[in-house]
Point group: C2
Chain length 322, copies 2
């Protein structure tokens, strides 16, 4: 006898700062959600207890655990095949964390994991601007840069479950040091922190030029500050976005040569910069493409709300969790 599908799933998005979780129904509606501070739990057991308690309470208030088909989790360095989180540099717990096993034992529900950007890609395919697409690349522009690659209508997990780390493709040999141990990774230029780094570099290099950004102590400048200054017409701030767009656009051109996607979908804080980022990005992307790829690939901004996309994407894994 085939087991009947239960009506809801839980999606969890584990970030370096917050862990967001929500209950999602079969139509993709987030019925309820909540979050805990990831960094408040340096001990894995304490974190797991707090997260499971939070989920149990949210589920009890919404539908009851017997209505939950499974739990899907998006987390950095999450391995889809093993259910482990392995050596995630931005999370407090070191080594290999058997996350799926720990959580499913506590909550009595099957749990599946993948990295946060992969989860976002699945969310985008199921509920976002990539609905109906069989080939696209999701790029998440947040504190870091993540990616999820959909080809032939499937997420590419790779042989070990770790595919889609395009934030660590090297765009500048011997460039900026990255947390991963290499230099010149895309993430060091086009993440929110990368933009802030560019701001400090540009302000130092153009010391004689005035800028709205000089009102802010250099080590406190955020990508949001750069965005606001650029919007206000600040020349250095606009050049920072032009530079960021050029670096990202040239990298996207290389990604296109890999999987020839119908679209690139940008997601996350920086994706809200609109034409400031998009205009230089598209120019650099097209300039770096061969004729067979030119003027074919759409660049789209995710239509989903940040938290929803991650939770929805993660939750989609929950339907098939075993």
């Amino acid at each position: 006898m085939k087991n009947e599908m239960k009506p809801n799933v839980v999606g969890i998005d584990i970030g370096g700062t917050n862990t967001v979780f929500g209950i999602v129904d079969q139509k993709g509606t987030v019925l309820a959600s909540n979050s805990i501070k990831t960094q408040a739990y340096q001990e894995l057991d304490n974190y797991m207890n707090a997260l499971c308690d939070g989920i149990a309470k949210l589920v009890a208030d919404t539908c009851g655990m017997d209505k939950i088909q499974g739990i899907g989790v998006g987390a950095p360095n999450a391995n889809f095949y093993t259910g482990n989180i392995e050596h995630a540099p931005n999370l407090p717990w070191k080594g290999i964390v058997p996350f799926a096993k720990m959580m499913s034992e506590k909550l009595g529900v099957p749990v599946a994991l993948t990295n946060d950007a992969n989860a976002a890609a699945i969310g985008e395919m199921k509920y976002g601007v990539a609905q109906g697409m069989k080939d696209f690349i999701m790029i998440t522009l947040g504190t870091g840069v993540g990616s999820g690659v959909i080809a032939n209508g499937q997420l590419i997990y790779g042989h070990d479950g770790f595919a889609g780390e395009l934030g660590h493709v090297i765009v500048e040999r011997n460039g900026r040091p990255c947390g991963c141990g290499n230099k010149g990774c895309l993430e060091t230029y086009t993440s929110a922190t990368g933009v802030a780094r560019t701001a400090r570099e540009f302000l130092e290099k153009r010391a004689n030029e005035d800028s709205l950004l000089r009102k802010i102590p250099a080590d406190q400048i955020t990508s949001k500050d750069v965005f606001d200054a650029a919007k206000a017409g600040d020349a250095i701030a606009k050049d920072i976005f032009a530079f960021t767009g050029e670096v990202l656009g040239a990298a996207l051109a290389d990604f296109i040569k890999f999987s020839s996607p119908e679209a690139i979908v940008l997601f996350g804080g920086l994706a809200k910069s609109g034409d400031l980022l998009l205009v230089p990005l598209k120019k650099a992307m097209e300039d770096n493409l061969m004729p067979i790829f030119k003027n074919k690939v759409k660049v789209l901004f995710s239509g989903m709300k940040d938290a929803d996309a991650a939770v929805l994407g993660a939750s989609a894994l929950g339907w098939d969790a075993k």
Copy 2:
């Protein structure tokens, strides 16, 4: 009623110099093969007539056309979805060539196309060192650099049929001019012609240093000459291979971040250079990987004979041609 599968297929490998074709059975045995000179036919109609005549004769001598299930073709810029060859820079016929349609009308057998490196990847998965693998990347090192990406056990064609052009990923911004119109493509460094280019550069830069390669007029040096000189202990020749391996290894590290393959399979003339290429390649590859990918990905040389692999791979498409 399901049509019964016929016992043989035809595989065709269209290169800039030669077009090789063969008859292949269900076990992957090349029963007979022949070739024509691609460049001898500047007119498409003449080429198509000569090729179809050659195939018809080979088939008549072997099994008869009623025993041919389909024809599979590997060709540069070949579009799997449309059956066209589109704007191939190294072929004599410009624009969009409706290759599959023309050939199937002439021979009365269904014809399917993909690019030569994709065909080689399929051949490697069916008959070569990648048997049983679900995730690997094929890199062909010939006059140019081609690639075929297998993920989740399937070839990635991309939304338009053109995925897998890793020879044109840019490894050096504003680097060597490439036939594709861009600068610094992988192909300009790690193809056979790229190695010859490096030789000319190194010989010029190190003008005061003796080398076996100086016996050959600079514009006539081939990658084979460099290989022979390196084997004989020539310092400049060895450095040329070290440089080539470093560039390729660093590029492979970036490709691994995309699809996390179980193996990279190298194919073509340069792949025969063995440790001269492999040792610096592996070092550069590992140096440019993040911890989660280190010491995991095999680098293999194709076990197939050059002509066979291309014909076998192309022929594999013939079974499903419609």
